[in-house]
Point group: C2
Chain length 96, copies 2
Amino acid sequence: MINLKALKEQALQNPEVKAEYDRLAPEFELATTLISMRQRAGLTQEELAKRLHTQKSNISRLERGDSNPGWKTLQRYADACGFELSVQAQRHKTAI
Amino acid sequence: MINLKALKEQALQNPEVKAEYDRLAPEFELATTLISMRQRAGLTQEELAKRLHTQKSNISRLERGDSNPGWKTLQRYADACGFELSVQAQRHKTAI
DNA sequence: AGCTGAGTTATCATAAAGGATAACTTGATC
DNA sequence: GATCAAGTTATCCTTTATGATAACTCAGCT
């Protein structure tokens, strides 16, 4: 299967691509940030699941982005990957 | 009543304090970011609640920080205040 | 072809978020 | 001291997130 997500993940293995990606990171959506953290930690979904005392299927669900994870859930995920999450607010590019 | 939160809110009315606060913002917790966004938008909890088609009590619950709001909830809140949220991952200050 | 590792999907149970309503506190103003 | 605006707290209900288990796809490998 070739889809956008697969391409993204593959591209992120390239350090140069990764650097530019990070520079633009705020533009990207949450799910991609999650996947990026896990991959930079060198973890599989199953390994991460163990650290979080949960199941790989639940990790997959988070990373597929079709839910609405709680902030503390995201923090625990990040922590298990060796990251700290912070939220940033920027003024809207006003529509009017 | 004088408590930490009241002091914070009052201090944030001062533009200089606000600027420094923003510089350090990532250190602060989510609830403070929420309150800051609403105040910078010049909205009361009730006004914001109307924009979100909900109740002021629910806004209060979010801002008091004793729950675990979903990411999309936070985005809607921010949007209604004229902001866009992004999440940022930074490597842990490793404990060992 | 079969095996394995990584991730996905489906489903169920339970905990928690979010919506709604009402009563309450507190500070300010008259 | 009555009133009002802003925020808090308590409670109930419905929806959803999360934990758990199992079966599945798919790629790579021998």
